[in-house]
């Protein structure tokens, strides 16, 4: 079975549409979304409705920190994220807000764990931003494979039987075998706000039969997405980020 894994959509309609179309062309069987549907982008309502539609047809959608902040506190956010969240709250109706509030933090299938930020304390939103953080994850989580987002930059960490942790920056359109002999932590890059200098949207496809993971990049209409951010009166920096991918 092919599972498309999408994360950090952040209200970016153009990026999400492009990824969904791409995944359907690949013939994926299921969608699992790792959270942060809103915040930063100009189309939060459309994105939430689209995700709800996917969930109605069997997709799994998890909670991200921006989704939690809609009905919760935005005190821990930086000023730009906070401004975007306050704008986003005004765009969402009660149904959409309830949908976000009820999302689960984690999802497990066998020994595969899906989560927004990290596996050991999902609600503290610690970033898996380097090998040290990956070691903390591996030492506390038993899952053979963990998929997370939150960092916005794709990366693959792995731990050997002797507890050595390595990191790999995925390149090309390429199936990476997730060998049964080691533990894996796959950080999936952002759909709606890439930050590695490449403007194209990120997502990944996990082939459960072959146990391989493919990191994908999908070019999308960044000009339109950035224009809408500016028209909405959101901070200019959020539009620039989409254009530059950083």
């Amino acid at each position: 079975m092919l599972i498309a894994i999408l994360t950090d959509i952040h209200g970016n309609r153009e990026a999400l549409s492009a990824c969904l179309a791409h995944a359907r062309l690949l013939g994926v069987d299921r969608f699992i979304l790792l959270g942060d549907y809103v915040g930063y982008g100009a189309d939060p309502a459309w994105v939430v409705d689209t995700v709800r539609g996917l969930v109605d047809r069997g997709a799994i959608a998890l909670l991200g920190n921006h989704d939690e902040a809609i009905d919760g506190s935005d005190e821990n956010m930086n000023s730009i994220a906070r401004e975007a969240i306050r704008w986003t709250r005004r765009q969402l109706g009660p149904e959409q807000r309830r949908f976000l509030a009820e999302l689960p933090l984690t999802h497990e299938e066998g020994n595969v764990l899906y989560v927004h930020a990290n596996g050991y304390a999902p609600r503290n939103w610690d970033y898996m931003s380097g090998p040290m953080e990956a070691i903390r994850h591996f030492s506390r989580v038993d899952a053979h494979i963990t998929f997370c987002g939150h960092v916005h930059v794709p990366m693959l960490y792995h731990m050997s039987t002797t507890a050595k942790v390595g990191s790999f920056s995925p390149v090309g359109d390429n199936d990476i075998p997730l060998l049964p002999t080691r533990a894996w932590l796959a950080v999936i890059g952002a759909v709606g706000q890439p930050r590695d200098g490449v403007a194209a949207a990120n997502y990944a496809v996990f082939d459960t039969a072959r146990q391989t993971l493919r990191y994908l990049r999908v070019p999308y209409d960044t000009a339109t997405a950035a224009r809408k951010v500016r028209e909405a009166g959101l901070p200019e920096q959020l539009a620039l980020r989409l254009e530059q991918g950083r």
Binding site: S160, T161, G166, S167, N174, P180
Partner: protein, 469 residues
């Protein structure tokens, strides 16, 4: 978990037949599978009796890389089993013995060594095109198919450009077989495809002289190859021709930039001895002086390793470009247009190798008279003209070669040459279109249709103008 393996035992549908050997890290068995007539071998890593993680990491590496590989130069991957209940890899069994068997006969006659060099270099080029550096090239890892192709086996130390390098993450020490390891591998750089060319150079040296160029060092002695050059092959075997010494010593250069840029370029030289540019390396009969060695030693202390491999980049910077030069009278403008195009390619692809080829058309049936009225060889005349054509290209001598091919079918000869020599790009001129040419079909259009690589068709400015007019 302790497994005692016996003939007749079944593992995942494969039945163990004969125990071939037990190497340092794995056992090798012939196996059969019901309904499958192909001869197969199963490689079973020995993970049980040791705390050493190396066998398992090598097994993981091989399990990642082997299913990706295709073509005649690798064993065909059949199946792999995870650790539980038992780790294994099943692959095609290559009949015969590895080149290790030939070590009993060293020194080998040099023509045979050159021939072995060509087949192994072609196999390495094919592997590098698949984004993989072998990093453990040695006689026991090379088999020869009955059809003549070399097969590279054992990918336990290999590196795939697009996959995590598990070995580098796990260990902080160099890997490989010490007599064959390239200097950069000693420095734990696992990112340069030219490391495989160094190992092939060690093999060729060993076959031709009967001695290993750097002995069989251990511990800190492995680093000596960073500054101490080997005894030149001709000092040990005077019958080794200077051109072969040139090639072997070029492979054994400490700095990868001084070696051949690609295995294809190495194969091209091994197959065309008369085209090898002889440098000081060819005439060397003793090792470098103490001063030169001392300078290399100083330099070696500062050398740093590369981080990420760029195999595709290395190969694309150093393509083999075939310039199909038509020297017939009246074609000067087209030959000039071709020269301009080659100059442009050279300005982009800095390490390109140019193979200038001219076809001397022979008739299919009649006995050709390949001399002119004064008895001068047409072949030699053409070669002189071809060298004159190439002389104005601004390119070092060792990166340009000239061949005049005698053939009844020019298009077929060019395509054959390109296929045989791993040519990446053919540049060929075309005359202006005419009714007769359309009817007969031109050489260039056939080359475009049949070539195994990219083809650029060049027209002269004069022909372009007349076509527009």
């Amino acid at each position: 978990m302790r497994w005692r393996l016996n003939p007749g035992m079944a593992i995942d549908g494969f039945e163990l037949q004969e125990h071939l050997n037990t190497g340092g890290m794995a056992q090798l068995w012939t196996v059969t599978r019901e309904g499958d007539p192909t001869p197969l071998v199963m490689k079973i890593p020995m993970l049980i009796d040791s705390d050493d993680p190396l066998p398992i990491v090598c097994f993981e590496t091989e399990q990642m890389i082997m299913p990706r590989l295709t073509g005649p130069h690798v064993p065909r991957f059949v199946a792999a089993g995870p650790l539980d209940p038992m780790p294994y890899i099943v692959m095609e069994r290559i009949p015969g013995e590895s080149l290790k068997a030939r070590l009993a006969e060293v020194p080998l006659p040099w023509p045979e060594v050159a021939a072995i060099g060509v087949t192994v270099a072609n196999a390495l080029h094919d592997l590098h095109l698949q984004h993989v550096i072998h990093l453990d090239v040695k006689p026991s890892n090379v088999m020869i198919r009955e059809t003549g192709e070399a097969v590279l086996i054992d990918y336990g130390f290999a590196r795939h450009e697009q996959l995590p390098d598990l070995l580098a993450e796990e260990f902080r020490e160099p890997f490989g077989t010490t007599p064959y390891m390239a200097p950069e591998q000693v420095l734990q750089d696992r990112a340069d495809p030219r490391s495989d060319l160094f190992a092939l150079g060690v093999m060729l040296y060993f076959f031709v002289t009967g001695k290993r160029p750097f002995g069989n060092p251990r511990g800190d002695q492995i680093r000596r190859r960073l500054w101490r050059d080997p005894v030149p092959p001709r000092a040990l075997r005077p019958e080794c021709p200077p051109w072969l010494q040139e090639i072997i010593l070029r492979c054994l250069e400490v700095d990868p930039n001084e070696r051949y840029a690609t295995a294809a370029q190495l194969a091209l030289d091994l197959e065309n001895p008369d085209q090898v540019t002889l440098t000081e390396r060819a005439g060397r009969l003793e090792r470098d002086s103490g001063m030169k060695t001392f300078k290399r030693w100083l330099k070696a202390r500062k050398t740093k390793a590369l981080e990420a491999p760029n195999i595709a980049g290395q190969l694309s910077r150093a393509p083999i470009v075939l310039a199909a030069v038509d020297l017939s009278p009246g074609g000067e403008d087209l030959a000039e247009a071709l020269r301009m195009m080659i100059t442009r390619i050279l300005s982009i692809e800095s390490e390109a190798r140019i193979a200038c080829v001219n076809i001397l058309k022979t008739s299919r049936i009649a006995v050709d008279i390949l001399e002119d009225a004064e008895g001068n060889s047409l072949h030699v005349q053409r070669l002189v003209q071809l060298k004159h054509w190439g002389a104005s290209l601004d390119i070092p001598k060792e990166r340009i070669s000239y061949s005049v091919l005698e053939a009844p079918d020019p298009a077929a000869a060019l395509v054959d040459y390109a296929r045989h020599n791993n040519v990446d790009h053919i540049v060929i001129g075309a005359r202006a279109s005419s009714a007769l040419r359309r009817y007969l079909g031109s050489v260039s259009s056939r080359v475009v249709a049949e070539a195994p690589c990219s083809v650029t068709v060049v027209r002269s400015p004069r022909d372009r103008r007349s076509a527009e007019g």
